[in-house]
């Protein structure tokens, strides 16, 4: 009897809890449903997951333009490019930011963008424009250079000279010390493959064969490669040489980027064809080239501004200089060969 009574009480308590929980669900649902759905005076930016700008900069845009900025995130740069290319003319946002030169041809050939020549495209920024028909469809905002990073402290400790060029990485002296990323799953991985293709146009496959012989490790993503395998990253991993960006040493000053063969990745902003607020999208494009955004880029997104004479943070000026020259491939050539290059790379690397 006693046991039965206790169970009854337990059951009643449980049933009350379910009722309360369901009630809470209902209240929360109603509360969230009361948000405004007025879309006039709004501009929506579709971007990748890594997008970040300081609140003050966003507030200034809203004050200047009288528009509310809404941000929607859609995966990584590749997913973003695919997302807008799948539905040209029927976009779910007004503007897109974060398409880079390795993916630019995808939305351009899908006819997902509207041409717009921003009056703010001056001060050196115009140098980064795409060529041909794509010229005005995407407006450059920032650049990030994919470069080999070395942990100088690691080499100093062992009294070994650190490598100074990508050619050194095939030297048996550095056997087993390099981490690269799979170009199929990582955008810096793709950047470095493109860097080697641009550097050794006729001979890049041999370069990678030599890399494989030299026991290079391949990671699926930058986060595991840099944060866990690289000795200069926060994980203090085992490998002192890694594919990363020219800007990475700003965060880890004991490391250095090899500036001899960096692949230049440029990120663009564009107006989406069929946008609900085309004028707002154009204002956003202009704003991304403005002084405030340009100055905020290094700290917020770890990329360099495209506009000349934008002051860099102190640690950047000191530890993360821009490469003087970079290797480049046209977006059209990347689009045409991306898949076959990746396949060839996979074959060489035995993956």
């Amino acid at each position: 009897m006693q046991r039965w009574g206790r169970q009854q009480r337990g059951q009643r308590w449980g049933r009350d809890a379910v009722t309360i929980a369901l009630g809470a669900v209902l209240v929360a649902s109603l509360a969230s449903a009361c948000g405004s759905s007025d879309t006039s005076g709004e501009v929506t930016l579709l971007t990748h997951d890594s997008f970040a700008l300081p609140d003050s900069v966003i507030a200034d845009f809203e004050k200047q333009s009288g528009l509310t900025l809404k941000i929607a995130k859609s995966g990584d740069a590749g997913q973003l490019a695919s997302t807008i290319s799948l539905t040209p003319g029927r976009p779910k946002a007004d503007a897109v930011y974060g398409i880079d030169n390795t993916f630019a041809s995808r939305p351009v050939s899908a006819n997902a963008l509207e041409a717009y020549r921003s009056p703010a495209l001056t001060g050196g920024a115009q140098e980064y424009s795409l060529t041909g028909a794509a010229k005005d469809q995407l407006t450059p905002v920032d650049r990030g250079d994919v470069c080999i990073n070395v942990d100088t402290a690691w080499f100093a400790q062992r009294n070994i000279p650190a490598p100074t060029s990508v050619n050194d990485l095939t030297d048996p002296r550095y056997k087993g010390e390099t981490v690269v990323m799979d170009p199929a799953t990582s955008s810096p991985g793709m950047g470095f493959l493109l860097a080697t293709i641009a550097q050794f146009p006729a001979d890049w496959q041999n370069y990678w064969r030599a890399m494989r012989t030299n026991d290079v490790s391949v990671e699926a993503g930058w986060d595991t490669g840099y944060n866990q395998q690289f000795s200069g990253g926060e994980g203090k991993g085992p490998k002192p040489i890694v594919v990363s960006y020219a800007s990475s040493p700003a965060a880890n000053p004991a490391t250095k980027a090899l500036l001899d063969s960096c692949f230049r990745q440029v990120e663009y902003v564009g107006v989406l064809r069929g946008a609900a607020n085309t004028e707002g999208a154009k204002k956003l494009v202009d704003f991304m080239l403005g002084e405030q955004v340009q100055q905020a880029l290094p700290d917020s997104m770890y990329v360099y501004p495209v506009r000349d004479n934008t002051p860099l943070p102190e640690s950047w000026a000191k530890n993360a200089p821009l490469p003087e020259s970079t290797v480049e491939l046209s977006a059209a050539s990347i689009a045409k060969n991306r898949e076959s290059w990746q396949q060839q790379w996979r074959t060489i690397m035995g993956r």
Partner: protein, 534 residues
């Protein structure tokens, strides 16, 4: 009765068949006449299928082996401990896979505590991570059946002279066959369609159908190839669900009775201590790595170096990114998950009712349909939504319910898995008795069924909520402004250099772990010791 069948079918039709169908149609529009056979050959579909099956089978076996001692412990431990174990095994189930991947790399990689195993970059690391994630499924399903099994049959066998092992083998084991098969099928499905774990631990060298679909769709923007692979995956899911259904013996529809646990003594006590250590090391180990990294992002160097310890990750929980702090992100995630829970519970409850009332082939097809959304690639579902939403008026496409609907689609199959067996266990004679006394069908349901299944409803609600909270594969494709979820935030913090970013990612993971643990604790206290099939 009409609404019971129509609502779930309508939901499945609108939120699953329509988008996936639209993507398939589009794929054939742009495939330049390449037939399915050519597409499959080009993408090495059969090789991918082989590896997918092999790793899923391997992962399931490892999960069963790993879970076995914990299942036994759940069955014999005092209620308090068994509840604690249930909470412990359930938290990993909903961790973001990027975090699980990072934790296993840290454990197995060079310099990690388990580096000696040499598993880093091998298939073993994938199997281990899958087992860690899915132990919950086996422990929950098998453990609770075992726990509530009538002990008298086993006692009778012992009285008649059977050894403990013989009594276990001839009496207990046959009754566990059904839950073991059912949970194995579910684990197999989860492992066959897992993405993040294979990507991070397989390191690009090991490819499954799911990762190949992603590479084709996102890497090459080859939608026809991605869709062709996706169709192979759909067929695979249908076959697995059908096979599980045919192979699984019907569960005896008896109302569960609570067992009074016998005190643990002698060898059993030693075994229990061993199983406890096993469970704690296995389940807490990877979580401890995340916790440690959240306060000490640098893993090398001297531990006594005070500079390497930091609370910056936790401080950043209140720091704004794009006008939103991680805590507000959790709040959005929670509200969206609540909506998804309401939807998933509505559809799932009606679906379970429909399944409970159908028999034979209809029931098999229904069970297959119910599980299908679990096995389909997030890319396929996500792209399907993009295609469909673009064809709708902007007002409909901008409906804030789209994100919760996608999450509900993933959660509803689990809801059905939990509620259907509870409904099946309601004695039909009780319903008949009530009806013959003049009760209306609604009154029968309210006075007979509901009091017997309400605990299962509570468990299903909690599961729907935590699945929606952790889902991000499909959600990422339909994201709208202000819909940053916690897993997305973790991913983006992991992709920035510097100790602070890593600490932020790990602190956000701890936030997700804590939120999940709270929900699981509430769920377990509701569930008590009553049996359930999940």
């Amino acid at each position: 009765m009409g609404a019971i069948v129509v609502v779930p079918l309508l939901f499945l039709g609108v939120f699953f068949v329509w988008p996936v169908g639209a993507l398939i149609r589009r794929a054939f529009d742009v495939s330049d006449g390449a037939g399915l056979g050519a597409l499959l050959a080009r993408t090495d579909a059969w090789g991918l299928l082989g590896f997918t099956l092999a790793q899923a089978a391997g992962s399931t076996v490892v999960a069963l082996l790993v879970a076995a001692p914990i299942v036994w412990l759940v069955a014999v431990a005092a209620p308090r401990w068994s509840t604690a174990l249930m909470v412990l095994v359930t938290v990993p189930f909903v961790l973001p896979t990027v975090v699980v991947g990072m934790a296993f790399r840290a454990l197995l990689g060079r310099g990690g505590p388990l580096a000696g195993l040499g598993w880093d970059g091998s298939v073993w690391s994938i199997l281990a991570a899958h087992a860690f994630l899915n132990v919950a499924v086996i422990v929950r399903v098998v453990g609770s059946v075992w726990r509530t099994m009538d002990p008298r049959a086993e006692q009778a066998a012992r009285t008649l002279g059977a050894t403990p092992w013989r009594a276990f083998r001839t009496v207990v084991l046959p009754r566990l066959a059904a839950p073991v098969l059912a949970s194995s099928a579910l684990v197999f499905l989860f492992c066959a369609s897992s993405f993040g774990v294979v990507l991070i631990l397989g390191n690009g060298r090991w490819q499954t159908l799911e990762t190949a679909i992603y590479t084709q769709a996102i890497g090459y923007f080859d939608i026809p190839a991605a869709v062709a692979l996706s169709m192979v995956q759909i067929v695979l899911v249908v076959i697995v669900v059908g096979a599980a259904r045919v192979l699984t013996p019907r569960t005896e529809a008896v109302a569960a009775r609570s067992a009074v646990p016998t005190p643990l003594a002698g060898l059993r006590a030693v075994g229990a201590a061993g199983a406890t250590v096993w469970a704690v090391v296995l389940l807490v180990g990877p979580l401890a790595v995340v916790a440690l990294r959240s306060v000490r992002p640098t893993s090398g160097g001297s531990v006594t170096d005070l500079d390497s310890w930091t609370l910056s990750g936790y401080r950043s929980l209140t720091e704004s990114v794009n006008g939103e702090t991680p805590l507000q992100t959790l709040q959005y995630s929670a509200i969206s998950a609540l909506w998804a829970t309401v939807l998933a519970m509505t559809v799932g409850l009606l679906g379970a009712l429909a399944l409970a009332r159908s028999r034979g082939a209809v029931a098999t097809v229904g069970a297959g349909l119910a599980l299908l959304p679990l096995g389909v690639s997030a890319v396929t579902v996500g792209f399907g939504y993009l295609v469909v939403l673009a064809s709708l008026p902007a007002e409909v496409a901008a409906w804030p319910g789209v994100v919760p609907a996608v999450q509900a689609l993933i959660a509803a199959p689990i809801v059905i898995r939990i509620i259907a067996p509870a409904l099946a266990a309601v004695p039909t004679s009780l319903r008949h008795a009530a009806a013959s006394l003049g009760a209306s069908p609604w009154r029968v349901w309210r006075t007979v069924d509901l009091p017997l299944i309400w605990r299962s409803l509570g468990v299903a609600t909690a599961f729907a909520f935590i699945i929606a909270l952790g889902e991000f594969g499909a959600t990422g494709f339909v994201a709208r402004p202000g819909t940053t979820t916690l897993p997305v935030l973790i991913g983006s913090a992991l992709n920035r250099p510097g100790a602070d970013s890593l600490a932020t990612a790990m602190a956000c993971s701890m936030l997700l772990i804590a939120a999940t643990a709270v929900v699981v604790v509430i769920m377990e206290s509701l569930r008590g010791v009553e049996g359930s099939e999940f």
